[in-house]
Amino acid sequence: MSEVSSHAVQHQAPTGFIRKHVFSLDHKVIGKQYYALALVAVVTGMMLSWLMRIHLVWPNAPIPGLHFLSKAGAPGNVMTPEFYLSLMTMHGTLMVFFVLTNAPFAAFGNYFLPIQIGAEDMAFPRFNMMSFWTTFLAFVVLMAAFFVPDGPPIAGWTAYAPLSAVGGDAGPGEALGQTLWGVSIFIFCIASLLGALNFIATTLDLRAKGMTLMRMPICTWAWFITSCISLLAFAVLMPACLLLILDRVAGTSFFIPSNLVISDRLQPHSGGSPLLWQHLFWFFGHPEVYIAILPAMGIVSHILINSMRKPLLSAKVIIYCMMGIGFMSYMVWGHHMFVSGMNPFSSLAFSFPTLMITIPATLMTLIWLGSLYGSKLRITAASLFALGFLSMFVSGGVSGFFLAQPAIDIYLHATYFVVGHFHMVMGVAAIFGVFAGTYFWFPKMTGHMMSESLGKLHFWGTFIGTYCIFMPFHYLGLAGNVRRYSAFTDDFLVPLIPLHKFITYAALFTGAVQLIFLFNLVYSRFKGAPAPDNPWECTSLEWTMPSPPPFDNFGGKHPVVYHDPYQYGMTNAAGGDYIMQTSPEASPTGD
């Protein structure tokens, strides 16, 4: 830990392009870099999903230009079933790791966690820079799978063994592509662990005077709890990837059983267990769901409080619920494995805590809804997306009650019901949190306001579009539509094809709506109205500084905090209805 930089006297911003924008130590630049990487990943991942959706309903139609992506995977521009699986794997991996982990947690967390606690940077800026560039390396290694001869892997983002472990016999992409996948995720784990260490140390050690733990905004808490979860979750995925790579390159058989015949060839492995991979993977994989959703919960709480102009019914209960969810997330991984052949008694043992974990989640939802009741909500693009988050979280969460019970899950597990469930509750809900955060913090990050009308248009298009995509998934699943099939043209699922067509149109529509967001992002960055210091009349520390914040955040001074960030709905000295955290005036509530 050679943290011997001259940070303490580094009140002058670096001037060179490389130090300022590329290998920057500034947490704000690193936050934006994470955001940009997530943006690239989400656009790529979304385009892959369009290709999949188009192939699902017109399986024999050529997609112009597809052979540029893979010669073997798209002869005559028609996607092969195997290439469909490659695209699905890359879609899942990009979205889960490089979007849902990076955008709400690493991007916004990096930018705003230090500011919200009154620090001038992260505790270890050099670590921070390494975290980002290690993540970037992981991204490059993953994308390289598109350019190797046999293409990206086909084993899905969960990389279930033995398919992922035996090598080229298992199909296209399972030779070099899957190895690149393993290496990429291994590198990603290192980056996430570095980031988690830094976030925890920063939160505990660099709080401004008066910023007690309970005075931290809910989103700071969410980032803090999320980093605690990552610290343990990625520590298990890392050795799991190591063992997977060993199986693939060193001939070991951790995840490969004896007498396995694949592609008419007896595999030269013996004694391993595919279930072991599922245990190790889901011990990471379930907490990962909360790594994606907790920061969104935090961001949404922050924005709702600000838009309602009153505190939540209880901020403390929200924070304790997030802690409870974080703790319990380690006890429920087996609910992903009800149909894996695991002992049915284990299913029972995992089902119970899975139903338990819905209690804090429900409690949080009730607090959000109860607080909204009777409040005069300011309708902005940010608050609309926060409401959209609640809607998605509830709609996606309710199907979780069904899936938590082995008896029902056995029927639904390998169907679109599960796909619909996790896309809504983990994917779209977390993305709505990111959108809300973007509309809320963009003025602070760039010094320009975003267009509110375009933002509201973007919201309604996305909200309606995503419901049109993912709600029918539940029906498809109940009707027995299995996952991971590349076409349904010649079996009992033919009657469902019109619904699939509707979903594909909805997906293309929702994707097109995102162009409004991208346009808004770029246009407002350069042409947006100049942002005042505190456009939303918010109480937390980031709104005490100029927009955009100067290099050293607080100008070398240590801010002093007098209140918790929930001081809304009173009259302050200047006639406003809120008291800043840094304002020394007395609050009527005494907090």
């Binding site: 943290e3 505790a123 270890f124 830094n198 005077k209 610290l231 890392m238 060193a250």
Partner: protein
């Protein structure tokens, strides 16, 4: 001046909220790393237990002599190195720089002896025909688990040897403080502690009957 000491400086001057653990950021990060790394070793040992229980023909190749004698010797050396590390940390705390450096270097030397004995043992195993994918006695995963678990531990020992050397040198030149010796001492004790799990689980469970 490091970021970590900025935090400490801020605390001393009363400009910042006190850290709940009242330790420097660097030491906190080392503790967090140890927690995370313990989970990583835990996952490796879990995987080992999983495949070991699932294999009816798990081999028990370790003879009392030379294998277990060698492991006892290695254990003795590693535990002793924890003791010498403690002495170094105590000297660093009282500000006795040369003694702290000397005892850190002795720890490094013991770490190197441990690594050498370990590599010699590995060579012996490889000579007997043990590979990650096969061995002469039974379940093929024996070699895979043996080499991956002890290999990961050996990697930690070698990493610790390098880190302690660098830290001691920089401490000597005044770039690092006694705190850094203590922080890397924590790491060294952790590596020692991991070995206390590896010995019974990987060696003693597999003694020849």
């Amino acid at each position: 001046m490091s970021e970590a000491s900025v935090a400490v400086g801020g605390h001393a001057a009363g400009m910042m909220e006190a850290s709940p653990f009242a330790i420097p950021s660097k030491k906190l990060v080392m503790w967090l790393f140890i927690i995370s790394d313990a989970v990583t070793f835990g996952a490796m040992l879990f995987a080992y237990g999983y495949v070991r229980n699932a294999s009816p023909d798990w081999p028990h190749p370790f003879q009392f002599s030379p294998s277990i004698v060698n492991v006892m010797l290695m254990t003795f050396i590693l535990v002793t190195s924890s003791l010498t590390m403690l002495i170094a940390v105590n000297h660093a705390k009282t500000g006795n720089k040369s003694m702290a450096m000397r005892w850190t270097y002795i720890t490094v030397a013991l770490g190197l002896v441990f690594a050498a004995l370990h590599i010699r043992e590995w060579m012996g195993m490889i000579g007997q025909g043990v590979r990650p994918f096969q061995n002469p006695w039974g379940a093929s995963l024996f070699g895979a688990t043996f080499f991956s678990i002890t290999g990961l531990h050996l990697l930690h020992v070698v990493g610790g040897v390098i880190a302690l050397t660098v830290v001691a040198m920089r401490y000597g030149r005044g770039r690092y403080t006694g705190d850094d010796i203590e922080i890397w001492g924590l790491y060294w004790h952790f590596v020692d502690l991991v070995w206390m799990f590896v010995v019974p689980l990987v060696y003693l469970l597999n003694v020849a009957r």
